[in-house]
Every structure is written in C-alpha cells, then in structure tokens.
Amino acid sequence: MAVDHEMVARVARLARLRLAPAEVAPLAAELNRILGWIDQLQAVDTEGVAPLETVIPITRAWREDVVTEGDCQADLLANAPAAAHGFFAVPKVIE
C-alpha cells in the first residue's frame, strides 16, 4: 500500500496534527518507507504459527471489583489549562 499526499493530509486531520504544506511530501515518503518495511515482514511465512501475544503466560490478570482509587480532584485538575467548580473547562464544544 502506498501513502499519497491526500492520505497524509487526511490522517493528520483525524489525528489533529497541523501540517505545513512543505511537511506533507517528506512525511509521505517516511510513511511509505515504514510500510515498505512492514511489507518485508509480511513476506515471512507464518502459516500455522500462532500470534505471540505475551512472552509470559498470563491469563485472567483481572482486578477484583473493589473501589481503590478516586477522590483526587485537585491532582486531576492541577495540570489542566483551565478548571472551574471542580470541572475541566474547555472551549465550548457543542454541535
């Protein structure tokens, strides 16, 4: 699969990245090189080999249903650009 300039612009928009027009061509080339490397990996015959999901056999790494966290409003809001009345405050987002 080749990435063209239009695809780069679209993915950037979806990822909320602002690209200068001059950045699009070099990025397309970089992404195509990465995809080329993936293609190279795809060439390996993995027929009958189960995907390796973890190197240590963990199943049921589940947590108990108990309340162990929370009540840290001040910490949560400490780095927020704006907060009011215990809420995060963001530019109005209504459609």
């Binding site: 928009r13 790494a61 249903d65 309340v67 966290e69 409003q73 009011a84 995060f88 963001v90």
Partner: protein
C-alpha cells in the same frame, strides 16, 4: 381476567408508512448501551456510584494520565457473560479489546477502549410479545464491553464547556440487535423485554433516567420485500417512548425524501423530544473513521468452561420462565402472570406475598395465588400509582398484605372492610389485624346480635315488608342495606342475607 385466557390474539396488520406512491416498510435495529452493575470501573478502581462532586470518582487511569495502564475488572466480564447466557447467546472463549479513536473533550485518552472485531458475546435471540399477544424472536448480533465517556456540560458558562469525568471508564455492555424490528411497537417491546431480563439477572439496573440504559436506533425504509434501504442512526435515545417517537418521525422523513426523488444519506442524527423530530448530528464526512486497532495494553480476554458454567449457574429464573411457571403451577391467567413478571422487584414482592399467604392460610400456594395476584395487581398497584410510589417503597410489606388476605379469607373482614383497613395501612403502616381490632372494623358474625338488628329493621318498615310479601321482591336489597347500615357496615353480608331470607320467608 379468566376470560382473557380463551381470547384468541387478533393479529395486528403490519406497520407500514403510507407514502403517496404506496406503502413502505420500516426496518429497525437497536444498539442498546447498558451500564454494567459493578462497584468499580471497567479498567480502574474508581467508584461507579451515580452523582457525586465533579471529578471525584476518577482515577488517574480514567483521566488518561501518561503511563497509566488499564487492568480489567473481572466482575464486568462475569456480568457480560451472564447477560449473554440470559439472552441465549454464544459466549466467545476468546475476545479482544480495541481502541476506537476520536477526539472529544470528555474522552481524555482520545480513544475509547471497546471490542471491535472479536466481541465477548456472539449471536442469540430474545422473544418479544406485542400487546395483541403475537410473539416474535428478535436476533442479537453481538454484545461487547466498552468504556463510557465523561459528561460535558454546555450551559454553565457562555464560552466554556465543563467536563466531569465521573462516568468516564464505567463499564457498558453494547447489545446489538439484528435489523429484525419492523415497527415502533416492536422496538418498544424489545427494549422492555431486554430491560426486564437485565434487571432480573442483576447485570444492569435499567434506570433510563440516569442513563443506565440508552439506545442508538438504526432506521431505514424500503418497499415491502425490497432490499434494505440506506439507514440513519439516531444516537443516545433514553426512553422507550422517545425511541418509538424517533422511529415514527425518522421513517416518515425518509419516505418523504424518497418520494421527493432525493436519496437518504447515511448519517448520525439526534432526537429532540421537545419538537418530536430528528436532526443531523455529525456532518463531517470523516467523523466515522475511528481507525480501530488492537489495544496494546490489554491481553486477549480468554474464558474457560468452568468460568462460563459458574456464570450460567448464577443465573436466577428468567422473566419468561417465571411467567410460564405462574401460569402452569399457580394457575394464573397469562395476562396477570405477565404483569407480575414484567419487573423483578414486583415479582420478588409477589413471591413473598404468596409464600406468606400460603403459610398463614395453611393452604398450598396454588390455592391462594389468584386472590393474592388479583389483590396485588388491583388494590396495591392502584394505591402505589395514586401515591406515586414503586413497589420498592411500598408502604405495605408483603407480610402485611398476606395478613390482610388471610383476614379476608377467614371472614374476619368483609371485602368493603378490607378496603377500609387497607387505606389505613397505607397511611399508618400498621398491621391489618391491629387496625381491625383497635378500630372495631371486624366483620360482625354474631348471629344473635344480627338477628336483633334484622327484627328491628323489619319492625320499623312494616309497610315495606307487606309490599315485599305481596311480590315486590327487589325490596330485599333495601332490607340488606338497612341492616348493614344498622351494623355500621360491619355485618357479614352473607349472614345478613341468610337471616333476612329466613325472617321474610
């Protein structure tokens, strides 16, 4: 009530939207989001309790602070599996979590952890029953586990939106139906049935006001028998009535578009309950490109047979099975059995009432069931409605109800006296026996006292007695009324009848 059993259901005609060029069929599929009952969130140890000061039921995981990792809550897995089993679905021994990527202020990570390609629960079916008695199986496509988002509040500040993450990360089950529904009534019956099952097994509280149960409604129209048309998705509808209204409006809108020679555009819409209409919600053409990929921070979800069997063994009697049992074992009419099994809390209340009634009257449940059921669905439900209460905060307990029924059965109270005592129970919460004793509301069955009252009435109305004896038989009711009045309404009507017949005969 008994007559209903013999009534044959009248098949309703299919629901069609009539356009100028002919009728259209409506095709509906629902994605129901049901909040899982759990103490903590799907991937963190923060509380799921409703309400609370903003951003207090939030962990660093829920706020997507850098380096925080999700750890799956086993109880949410168990509840999803139990739900799948209750809906007759296949349980996938191996499922996986994926990231659904989009940007919104109340989604701090920029993605929602959901299940895309490999959900925990596969296909199944739910049987619904319409008001006319027709039954229909509605297919379930899948159920997957996912996180809820936070809440944005837009009306507290002119330029800012406020974000509360208390809901962020709470576990939801998304129950996806097949496009098997064909009318607003069917969609309503489906959600009602689903809600009853979820509440019965305790996997979701079904509280639509608090948003514990809400639906995305997919609607399309087509000529009867034609292939599916283009669908629109109406997001986040939070009452059964609104779901039905939204479908009716949307179907009409699509028919009008098609007949005007325009095409239905696949889009997301919202339902405005005040205007009773749907409006387009997201217009950007790439808003739906979620770029799903496997969640790298979580292992695949692997279930073994022992876990699934333990989930199965934990399921209580389901509403439809209970209903069938009420009909066959207790001899209740399908209608009353249906009313008593529509809500789990009411069912459990009835079970207590029934057990206590059987015990007090020393009879098998089957013999006291009809009276208990009629009293509960009649007098009690009417009183609760009048008091604007639910069964959960009924002023009368099942044991008190059973005592009242026993006093009625053994003749201590007559029907009218029982109603009087019941009203006092509702007000004071006292036991019926105590009320009847203290307020002298017991039925008078003392033959000698009543005989004297009968004699007095006949003596005072000698002219009417003569008329009666001359053939004016309808005066009998007059004498009964006079004796009842003389006894202050406490005489046993049956006994008064007997005594009068003897005295006049």
């Amino acid at each position: 009530m008994a007559a209903r059993r013999s009534q044959k259901p009248v098949m309703a005609p299919p629901y069609l939207v009539n356009g100028e060029t002919g009728p259209f069929e409506v095709v509906i599929g629902l994605e129901v989001h049901a909040q899982v009952i759990s103490k903590s969130k799907l991937f963190s140890g923060a509380s799921t309790a409703f309400g609370g000061a903003p951003n207090t039921r939030v962990s660093l995981v829920d706020a997507a602070m850098p380096g925080m990792l999700p750890v799956l809550n086993g109880e949410c897995v168990r509840q999803a599996v139990r739900t799948g089993l209750a809906l007759g679905c296949t349980i996938n021994r191996r499922s996986r979590f994926d990231r659904k990527n989009y940007f919104y202020a109340d989604l701090p990570a920029g993605y929602q952890i959901s299940q895309y390609e490999a959900p925990i629960v596969g296909e199944g079916a739910v049987e619904i029953e319409l008001e006319d008695g027709t039954r229909k199986a509605v297919g379930i496509e899948r159920i997957h586990l996912e996180q809820d988002a936070g809440k944005s509040i837009h009306d507290l500040h002119p330029e800012l939106s406020y974000v509360d993450l208390n809901r962020a990360g709470v576990a939801l089950m998304e129950i996806v139906s097949k496009p098997d529904l064909r009318s607003p009534a069917e969609a309503g019956a489906y959600v009602t049935t689903l809600r009853a099952i979820l509440r019965a097994i305790g996997s979701c509280d079904g509280n639509m006001q608090e948003g514990s149960l809400r639906a995305d409604v997919n609607v399309s129209v087509r000529r009867p028998g034609a292939p599916f048309g283009t669908r629109c998705e109406i997001k986040n509808v939070n009452s059964i009535r609104f779901i039905q209204q939204a479908i009716a409006f949307e179907a009409r809108r699509q028919v009008d578009l098609i007949e005007a020679g325009e095409a239905v555009v696949q889009e997301t819409r919202l339902f405005d309950p005040e205007r009773g209409e749907t409006r387009p919600l997201r217009s950007k053409e790439d808003a739906h490109d979620y770029r799903y990929f496997p969640e790298p921070d979580l292992l695949p979800l692997v279930l073994d047979e022992a876990f699934i069997e333990a989930c199965r063994a934990s399921l209580p009697e389901l509403p439809h099975a209970r209903r069938r049992r009420y009909e066959t074992e207790l001899g209740l009419s399908p209608y009353v059995a249906g009313v008593l099994t529509a809500d789990i809390e009411e069912s459990l209340w009835f079970e207590l009432l029934l057990a206590e009634s059987a015990k007090r009257q020393g009879k098998p449940p089957r013999e006291v069931a009809e009276r208990a059921a009629n009293w509960m669905t009649g007098d009690l439900f009417a009183a609760l409605k009048r008091l604007d209460r639910t069964i959960a905060d009924s002023p009368v307990t099942p044991a008190q109800g059973a005592e009242l029924l026993a006093l009625l059965a053994d003749g201590t109270l007559s029907g009218p006296l029982a109603k009087q005592v019941f009203e006092i129970m509702l007000e004071t919460g006292e036991n019926p026996g105590v009320i009847a004793e203290a307020r002298g509301l017991k039925q008078v069955t003392d033959t000698a006292a009543l005989e004297a009252a009968v004699a007095a009435v006949l003596q005072a109305n000698a002219d009417k007695v003569a008329e009666y004896r001359a053939g004016k038989e309808k005066l009998f009711g007059f004498f009964v009324g006079q004796v009842m009045k003389a006894s202050g309404g406490k005489a046993s009507p049956a006994l008064v009848n007997d005594l009068l017949k003897r005295a006049l005969g």
